[in-house]
């Protein structure tokens, strides 16, 4: 609970929450100016995992960039694949067959559940509980097994191609996914909600911590569960639909309080909604090819293109500038966590250090996505 106190700005010291820290999710450094246990100023320092993705996009062809997309946000790599495939298909006018669209949606939503499970495990690890990590990883391994059958990788998927996906799904994947959904729905009430969500220690640690107002979200460009936890009803799958999302009936969870508990509940409900989408997609799955026609050497016509997809962390945008050649002339990746983290400095002022870490965990940061 943030207690309003009089911060003594002349009696401060600087504490370095360094790049190597068990609770920063990757290599993030935060320079904290502290007055005792209270934070006077928090300044994130980035760049410790900057891996030159935009330069590599300019120096290679369109297809050569697909493996890079998975390494940015490795927890929801299929959504990053999807975003890149969407923008190039838009620019080059490539059609995607319907079965491929359904497979894309099923695999992206499975990956979203896996990403939220890992967020949940890491968040509770930051707050000091180790057991939820073991339960969440158990479920996550089941998802990884399913996706590995179809894509070949466990973590950094390079599954989508321009025009569809490269491998079809089989009966065993479909029955395995239905069994997994039944299993997770059975485990949710006791293991996830009774043990953790209704736990008095968790409630005391994250309720009313890190309150972000809707206006702050707009001014800093925060999207995803961070915005939906502050009352903003914005989900690209509903507001700017792409692929076959208009065919499915699902809700977008929105909570108004704006504190870490609201963001926590948004993500827990999103897992249930993803399961609904997967079930509907499996029921409606059409037959047909999984790969459309695309030219061997892609040379989209010159112009400015943008596409946005909804990842587990927010709205991912690809701003592509083409000049008619076989390499992208410029690719700007609008990463959701970059904008979500930019409001950390303003909101963490006056917080206790332990609360600031709980707040950082509730923002769901993946640092290689920020640094690209």
């Amino acid at each position: 609970m943030t207690v309003p106190i009089h911060l003594r700005h002349d009696e401060t010291f600087v504490l370095n929450l360094g790049p190597q820290h068990p609770a920063t999710h990757g290599v993030l450094r935060v320079k904290l100016t502290m007055d005792g246990e209270y934070i006077v100023k928090a300044e994130p320092v980035l760049g410790y995992i900057h891996r030159m993705h935009e330069k590599m996009a300019e120096c290679g062809t369109f297809a050569q960039f697909m493996p890079n997309t998975a390494r940015m946000d490795y927890l929801h790599a299929l959504a990053f694949n999807h975003g890149w495939a969407l923008v190039v298909e838009k620019a080059a006018g490539i059609e995607v067959p319907e079965r491929a669209e359904y497979i894309r949606v099923i695999t992206v939503e499975l990956n979203r559940i896996a990403s939220h499970l890992l967020w949940w495990a890491a968040f509770l690890l930051d707050l000091g509980g180790f057991t939820p990590l073991l339960y969440a990883f158990d479920d996550r391994e089941k998802i990884i097994d399913l996706l590995e059958r179809v894509t070949g990788s466990r973590l950094t998927y390079c599954y989508m191609r321009f025009g569809g996906v490269y491998n079809d799904i089989d009966e065993e994947f479909i029955t395995g996914t239905r069994d997994f959904i039944k299993r997770l729905r059975g485990r949710m009430p006791r293991l996830y909600h009774d043990l953790v969500t209704h736990n008095i220690i968790l409630i005391k640690r994250i309720k009313d911590i890190g309150i972000i107002s809707a206006e702050q979200c707009r001014r800093y460009g925060a999207t995803g569960p961070v915005a939906r936890g502050s009352g903003i009803n914005y989900d690209i799958r509903k507001n700017e639909p792409y692929s076959v999302y208009p065919e499915f009936d699902f809700d977008v969870p929105v909570f108004d309080e704006g504190d870490s508990m609201a963001r926590y509940m948004v993500r827990m409900h999103e897992m249930e909604q993803s399961m609904r989408i997967i079930e509907q997609a499996l029921d409606k799955l059409p037959d047909g090819p999984v790969m459309g026609k695309s030219p061997k050497v892609l040379k989209p016509e010159a112009g400015y293109y943008y596409s946005a997809v909804e990842t587990a962390r927010g709205s991912l945008g690809h701003r592509l500038v083409c000049d008619g050649g076989k390499n992208p002339y410029k690719l700007k990746l609008r990463s959701p966590t970059f904008s979500n983290l930019s409001l950390y400095g303003e909101v963490a002022e006056g917080m206790l250090l332990a609360d600031a870490l709980a707040f950082m965990g509730s923002l769901d940061l993946v640092i290689p996505e920020i640094d690209r």
Binding site: P22, I49, M56, C59, D138
Partner: protein, 165 residues
Amino acid sequence: MGEENVPSSIVQFAQLDSLLNLGRANSLWPMTFGLACCAIEMMCTGGSRYDISRFGAEVFRPSPRQSDVMIVAGTINKKLELAVKTLYDQMPEPKWVIAMGNCAISGGPFKVKENYNVVEGADKLFPVDVYIPGCPPRPEALLEGIMTLEEKITGKRRWPRVDPG
């Protein structure tokens, strides 16, 4: 025979040294140094399916002063290389380094002509004992890397090598 980072002394107790090495090899305490994607596979190895604690290594210490082995899991950057070197120097002897993943071995997918920011391999900064290839390596590969390190420390391998085919 494996090599050890133990400073030699005038008096050697052969049986005691091999007993100490057996103890060190079977209770390696890694430092939490997950930088990028390989860190997630390291966390999966610590989970209950690929249980790293069977091999004595589940106690991930955040501080370098309390750890034996640094598992470099991820890409090292020009901005980060001083911090990595400092962490290595702060670890007390005997210490070992496992380079996990292609980025830590040689820069991985980022070793390209236009590379301006990635250090091409952890062994440009300090000596590495075990290299585990993969992008990211499977948790079983990390376990094999721990077993190889144990073999390097003690000179013997406790679990039989699986013969493919």
